[in-house]
């Protein structure tokens, strides 16, 4: 599928106009949040992955995930990834998405959320990003007859608010016999980790986007800041630091874009979430990008010196978000273990044939 550059360009303009990182850092209040969200809805970004027949923009998964790379560059603080994925999952199950911000889960391995025979939902979604800012959540839950996609009102759930590493809502949500607004059997090809895998693809793009911006501002700083009567970018140690940062950015962009393209084309070709190629692509992206942000954030902070650790500087909005996003929808250790199990189960002789199909 072609990447929809028109949508991506308008997303970039919108984010720049209303949620530019510097303005957000300097903002006295959070009025930008309202403006941002209404802009998102006016541009149809929230329904980017909702089918046209259900009133969505249906720009394709690769493009929808592409929006998130741009959001990552802006360190955008809004449940955009969650809402896009919620719309996608509802659409895949033939359900209509409501307007407004929608949480998406489960976001952690090991969460137990069940649908009872009477159709009500119980259980706990831990560390659910932005739950306290959202009216609804879309969840992939275990039922008596397999998996179901449910749209639940969060007003009926019990929310324990807490914050992520990047000071964003990362709440525990407990459901007790909550009646969904809508529900349907999960589409063919879904498995119990599908929400996590989709979330992992989204977070990979967000982290990759943040990394791009981290490189750009680090280069700007290094070519302006002077020490010992030289621009610091002239010191070889600084150049090598930036070269390594660029390497981590490059591999992040490549891996995240590859996973997005793979999801779009493999699902489009009728493959399911148990497909080893699809799993390799998405798991690898989340694993590699999470390693990259750790190294990249460290280099960027080091090269910025003291100014980079101040609250007023924009660097931490990017680094802390990038680091926090590692933990959402499966961290790199958990996905590594899953991927390792997949690889071992297929045997040594199947390793290269799998890698080389991609």
């Amino acid at each position: 599928m072609q990447v929809d550059t028109i949508v991506l360009d308008s997303a970039e303009r919108l984010f720049q106009d209303v949620a530019d990182i510097q303005s957000v850092v300097s903002a006295k209040n959070t009025s930008w949040k309202e403006k941002l969200w209404s802009g998102i809805e006016e541009n149809g970004l929230n329904i980017a992955a909702v089918p046209e027949c259900l009133g969505g923009a249906e720009i394709g998964l690769q493009s929808a995930l592409g929006i998130l790379r741009i959001a990552g560059r802006m360190a955008l603080s809004a449940p955009l990834a969650e809402t896009i994925l919620a719309g996608w999952m509802l659409g895949a199950a033939g359900l209509t998405a409501p307007t407004g911000k929608i949480a998406f889960g489960p976001a952690r391995f090991g969460d137990g959320i069940f649908m009872k025979l009477d159709g009500t939902v119980s259980g706990r979604a831990s560390h659910l990003p932005f739950a306290s800012e959202c009216s609804h959540a879309v969840l992939l839950v275990q039922g008596h007859q397999g998996l179901s996609v449910v749209l639940v009102p969060l007003a009926d759930a019990q929310i324990t608010s807490r914050q992520s590493l990047a000071y964003e809502p990362l709440d525990h949500v407990t459901f007790k016999d909550v009646q969904p607004v809508a529900s349907a059997a999960a589409p063919a090809g879904f498995d119990k980790d599908t929400a996590l895998l989709m979330g992992a693809a989204a977070r990979s793009m967000q982290i990759a986007g943040a990394m791009e911006k981290i490189l750009a501002i680090t280069m700007d700083y290094a070519t302006q800041r002077k020490a010992f009567e030289r621009t610091i970018s002239k010191f070889q140690a600084v150049q090598h630091g930036i070269a390594q940062l660029a390497g981590e950015v490059a591999v992040s962009l490549s891996a995240a874009e590859s996973a997005a393209e793979a999801l779009d084309s493999l699902l489009g070709a009728g493959r399911g979430f148990d497909d080893p190629e699809l799993q390799l692509e998405v798991m690898s992206a989340k694993i590699r990008v999470s390693t990259a942000i750790r190294k990249g954030a460290a280099i960027a902070h080091q090269l910025h010196g003291a100014i980079g650790v101040t609250n007023e500087h924009i660097l931490h909005r990017l680094t802390l978000r990038g680091l926090a996003w590692r933990d959402d929808y499966g961290n790199e250790s958990q996905w590594s273990e899953k991927l390792g199990t997949l690889i071992c189960g297929r045997g040594a002789e199947a390793l290269w044939p799998l890698l080389s199909t991609r």
């Binding site: 280069m219 070269a243 891996a255 590859s258 393209e261 390792g340 189960g345 290269w352």
Partner: protein, 385 residues
């Protein structure tokens, strides 16, 4: 400041993947016939020679080159998958590897017509092995400090001096080397080096093998004692070798040889783990596979840029930097992963592969340009220099 790095998620076309399967089937039949062992790089030169002829017979050497010299003008992606399959299986590809990757393309671009029509078909037939004569005892990273001299002589040039670390010089038919033809100028310290094609069987050349810590014996000291080179073996411009090396470097740096050299240890690790990998071992394997996949996707993307006629200098240097560091670290991380496994017979067999890859690891970030030099190239590509 420009910092735009873009890696399109290129997919290899169906036709190219079909070619991959043909290559793989051929390699498997060679392995089954006992020609070589993918866990143990072949050292018998005769096997390399025979293998090169078999590969040539299938049309897999110089496949991107002009038809007029025996090539097939196939896409760079075709070459990419052939190369990848050979490397990942440790196939005995030494005879043609260097010529196919860089010497041939250099000749096509800069050599005289006589040389092109004489030498290129030999490479394509798997009969001409090439070596690269850049490094000298006092000139490694700083290529432009080279001293080995070429002086004018009737009908050509005379060469005197020493090259070193020249891989496969002792087995090669030809070298492409750089030689000092004038002194550097104050404005341009890169001035004064000239590239030549050297017939390695010419009188006056002595190759002295140098043993490596890994047990490998493939690089040499090459001494030139008044070796004569006819005029038409000049490659490109006199004193202007520095202008000639740009695009080829991107091919040389971004290929799968920059992350697959220790692959055997990963494949064997998966075999050793079998179906009983515990959480720790499973995690380690998954992480390594994710990293390899990510490197490979980047390398394929650069292959696409090259195929599209771009010059991705920084991108290619990034692939080599990340790739060589990864393949160098791989044996150490595999060692960590197996720390709690029982030391049975399977383990001992595995340990041999681990030992070999650990012994070759240090060279991986030196050959073809060190990590530090690459990072300089990346910094320049980003506009910092």
């Amino acid at each position: 400041m420009t910092s735009t790095l873009e890696f399109q998620p290129l997919r290899l076309p169906e036709r190219v993947q079909q070619l991959r399967l043909e290559v793989r089937a051929f390699i498997q039949s060679e392995i089954d016939a006992g020609v070589f062992n993918p866990d143990d790089p072949e050292t018998d030169w005769e096997i390399h020679r025979q293998f090169a002829r078999k590969v040539a017979a299938r049309g897999w050497i110089g496949m991107t080159w002009p038809k007029q010299y025996g090539g097939q003008e196939r896409s760079f992606l075709d070459r990419y998958v052939v190369n990848e399959e050979m490397l990942v299986h440790n196939a005995p590809n030494t005879v043609y590897f260097t010529a196919d990757r860089q010497s041939g393309p250099t000749l096509i671009r800069y050599a005289s017509e006589r040389i092109k029509s004489e030498v290129l078909p030999k490479i394509i037939a798997g009969e001409a092995c090439f070596c690269i004569g850049m490094s000298e005892p006092d000139s490694g990273s700083d290529l432009f400090a080279a001293k080995c001299k070429a002086t004018r002589s009737e009908g050509g040039w005379r060469i005197n001096g020493t090259k070193i670390w020249t891989t496969n010089a002792h087995q090669s038919n030809y070298m492409i080397g750089i030689f000092r033809t004038s002194a550097p100028t104050t404005e341009n310290r890169r001035h004064g080096l000239t590239s030549f094609l050297v017939d390695m069987k010419a009188p006056g050349i002595t190759c002295n093998l140098i043993d490596q810590m890994s047990g490998i014996r493939d690089f040499n000291e090459v001494v030139f004692d008044d070796v004569f080179l006819p005029d038409d073996q000049l490659i490109g411009e006199v004193d202007g070798a520095w202008k000639q090396a740009t695009t080829e470097l991107a091919y040389e740096r971004s290929g799968p040889e920059r992350f697959l050299e220790t692959f055997a240890v990963l494949r064997n690790l998966v075999g050793l783990a079998g179906n009983s990998a515990d959480q720790r071992l499973g995690e380690a394997i998954g992480r390594l596979v994710a990293e390899l996949h990510s490197l490979r996707r980047m390398s394929v993307s650069v292959a696409g840029m090259l195929e599209a006629g771009r010059e991705p200098t920084a991108e290619a240097a990034i692939v080599k930097d990340l790739g060589t560091i990864w393949e160098q670290d791989l044996p150490q991380r595999v060692r960590d992963a197996i720390a709690f496994l029982p030391a049975d017979e399977a383990f001992d067999r595995f340990d041999e592969v681990l030992q070999f890859t650990t012994r070759i690891a240090p060279k991986l970030t030196i050959q073809g340009g060190t990590t530090e030099i690459l990072r300089g190239v990346i910094a320049r590509g980003l506009g910092l220099r």
